[in-house]
Symmetry: C2
């Protein structure tokens, strides 16, 4: 049996832009290509993924998780998905490529499935947003990740019951309509039983 070429780390780095999800791609690429790097012989996959994010963006991801190892063309690809806040600028030679709903395939689909599967356990939606956000922003992110509409009142009620956010004194006005209150991610420490929010069940 021939020795395999070195496995590669492949990165799906996701953010929230212009009301849709976007993924970071090398600027020159056609279609959706993802950044990658060889996995050094002695390094941990997690460390290699973190290093790749840092090399491209200049700073660490707000959240990241391994999706899995799979055969991609000729060599072994270890796919990671990472999340960065909404206001992150694309570094030189890279660009954010918008993801129209449902339109993804292969690696990207697997990465988004991972986000969706973990959204009720990890603070993924909060990492996609900045420090402060409106509840409408947050709901829109959940709707994009879950690919379904949520009911406004139920969403707010569940969120507040879980003590995941706390209101600030700031309000944001964006043209039309009543200004929205800004909230901050502030999960209350688990004393006693903490209520989980099953956003995937919410209507």
């Amino acid at each position: 049996m021939a020795a395999s070429p070195s496995p590669r780390i492949v990165l799906a780095c996701v953010t929230w832009r212009n009301g849709e999800l976007a993924v970071l791609t090398p600027a020159a690429s056609r279609g959706v290509t993802l950044p990658e790097a060889p996995l050094g012989g002695a390094s941990l996959p997690d460390d290699a993924a973190d290093a790749l994010v840092k090399r491209i963006l200049g700073r660490a991801a707000a959240w990241r998780s391994q999706v899995g190892a799979l055969r991609d063309e000729t060599s072994l690809a270890i796919l990671y998905v990472a999340v960065v806040p909404a206001d992150t600028e694309a570094p030189t030679r890279h660009e954010w490529r918008g993801l129209p709903r449902g339109t993804s395939s292969g690696l990207l689909r697997a990465a988004l499935a991972q986000l969706r599967a973990r959204i009720d356990r990890d603070p993924i939606a909060f990492r996609l947003l900045g420090e402060r956000f409106t509840l409408s922003d947050l709901q829109q992110v959940y709707e994009l990740l879950l690919e379904r509409r949520l009911h406004k009142a139920s969403f707010r009620r569940s969120l507040l019951a879980a003590h995941l956010v706390e209101p600030t004194e700031q309000w944001r006005s964006e043209g039309r309509g009543r200004p929205a209150q800004l909230f901050r991610f502030a999960p209350r420490r688990r004393r006693g039983l903490q209520r989980a929010v099953r956003f995937d069940l919410l209507g």
Copy 2:
């Protein structure tokens, strides 16, 4: 950069034995060692995992899933978790090693975490049981995987409401107590909205 040694497929094959979970280990091994095989240069990781199961057990697993790729000692290990029915005999040179609750570490802990994370989406508990089973058996398997007690009446009510099982005409008596009715895994086709069972929420 030096070329990596070929990645290995590592298998955590789980079954249900004597009221606890058990994992398949090479008979000679001390502690908990898991079967493994090199990943051929051209094969898909999923195929290699299936082949490893087949080579050891002589037949396919009832369910399997990749846990992830991680550095193990010197080379890259791609960990898989598989499930086989309760009555599966250990093949020659292998044995079932019981898993007292909570007592697992490293690879095994990650494999069990994967089972737990997927138990409400995939029919993992049903694959751990044989063709027919009592609801008490099923509840015990769920309790082992979730590592917490479930309430009998709530468990049954949720299970039946989700139309996951259907009763047979058979009953099984095992010494003391009233005989239990045998059930079969029979998920009803998803017409309209199907009710999901959140066993992880059940008390």
